[in-house]
């Protein structure tokens, strides 16, 4: 049982860590395009757009590396849930006000054809949120026992 549950944790860490690292790479590569994607969400004030675009991808990379390498797991799993939660709310907010943004989640390329519908982003992000929330819960519960 115990070994099994440890394996689940490990798999979860690798999945989420992989998602975070994968999501960060294209944004790191194309800062201007990512800034445009942040702008298109029309949530942040203009003076925060560029600093967000500069910092966020690296934050995602650090979180992803921590998750995979098993470093600072409580903090990394907590931050991953928090970030995915924020993204989820941002997409939900824009869906609610009828703004169809290209989400810029994994790729900064802004194709001229219709992107995936907002509903799909919400379902995908909701799934990530459940995974991250569960990982965070498991890590923190394990740690609590250890203290």
């Amino acid at each position: 049982m115990r070994a099994n549950s440890q394996r689940v944790l490990l798999v979860l860490r690798f999945i989420l860590g992989g998602i975070f690292i994968y999501a960060s790479l294209d944004k790191i590569h194309h800062p201007a395009a990512f800034a445009e994607a942040v702008y298109n969400y029309k949530i942040l004030p203009a003076y925060l757009i560029d600093s967000t675009a500069i910092v966020l991808p690296w934050l995602e990379l650090v979180i992803g590396l921590c998750l995979i390498l098993g470093l600072w797991l409580p903090g990394a799993s907590f931050l991953s849930s928090l970030l995915i939660g924020i993204f989820f709310v941002a997409i939900l907010f824009n869906a609610a006000r009828g703004l169809d943004v290209h989400c810029g989640c994994f790729s900064t390329s802004n194709s001229t054809t219709h992107g995936a519908p907002m509903g799909w982003y919400l379902i995908r992000d909701g799934l990530f949120l459940v995974l991250a929330g569960y990982l965070c819960f498991r890590v923190l519960r394990g740690k609590r026992r250890a203290f």
Binding site: P31, A35, W58, V62, F78, H114, R144, F147
Partner: protein, 166 residues
């Protein structure tokens, strides 16, 4: 026990935030295509093709070109929105399906003619994206009328319903 765990999470969160922010800023300083920390996201700056030259056109000028028939108006919104009402004479070139509509919409428009793109709402980026796209395709005289459809209606200028421009 809980407090200890909370503190541990807090310190790690601070550590990760610090690392991410530091890496982001340092790499941004070093790389050649780095961004400025506070960018200019005004419509004029976004449509600036070179310092001091922007693709934005004001309503007065757009209106003059409309009455003198010097300009071609392009509606960058969806065909549904276009049908519900558009600037009289405007052609529909939905930016999101630009590839599909481009040839039909741009036929017999010379590269140097005045083209005015518009969509609905100040936040609508379709007409901006369309204007930039056309500019880079070689249409040197393309302009964007920001919030064009709203402005046009507010000022009681000629509009038309249905699928045909006029």
């Amino acid at each position: 026990m809980l407090r200890q765990l909370g503190l541990q999470v807090l310190w790690q969160v601070i550590g990760i935030l610090f690392l991410g922010i530091a890496l982001g800023i340092v790499v941004n300083q070093v790389r050649s295509d780095g961004l400025s920390m506070v960018g200019d996201w005004s419509p004029e700056a976004q449509l600036a093709i070179e310092p001091g030259k922007t693709l934005v056109i004001g309503l007065d000028e757009a209106q003059q070109s409309f009455y003198s028939k010097r300009a071609v108006f392009l509606d960058a919104r969806s065909p549904e929105s276009y049908q519900e009402g558009h600037i009289l004479g405007a052609r529909n070139l939905p930016f999101e399906e630009a590839n599909k509509y481009l040839n039909a919409a741009m036929c017999n428009i010379p590269k140097d003619s005045l083209i005015i793109t518009y969509c609905d709402g100040e936040g609508c980026s379709l007409s901006k994206d369309l204007a930039l796209e056309l500019f880079y395709m070689g249409y040197d005289n393309v302009r964007e009328l920001i919030d064009g459809w709203n402005l046009w209606k507010e000022h009681g200028l000629p509009t038309k319903k249905g699928t045909s421009p006029e």
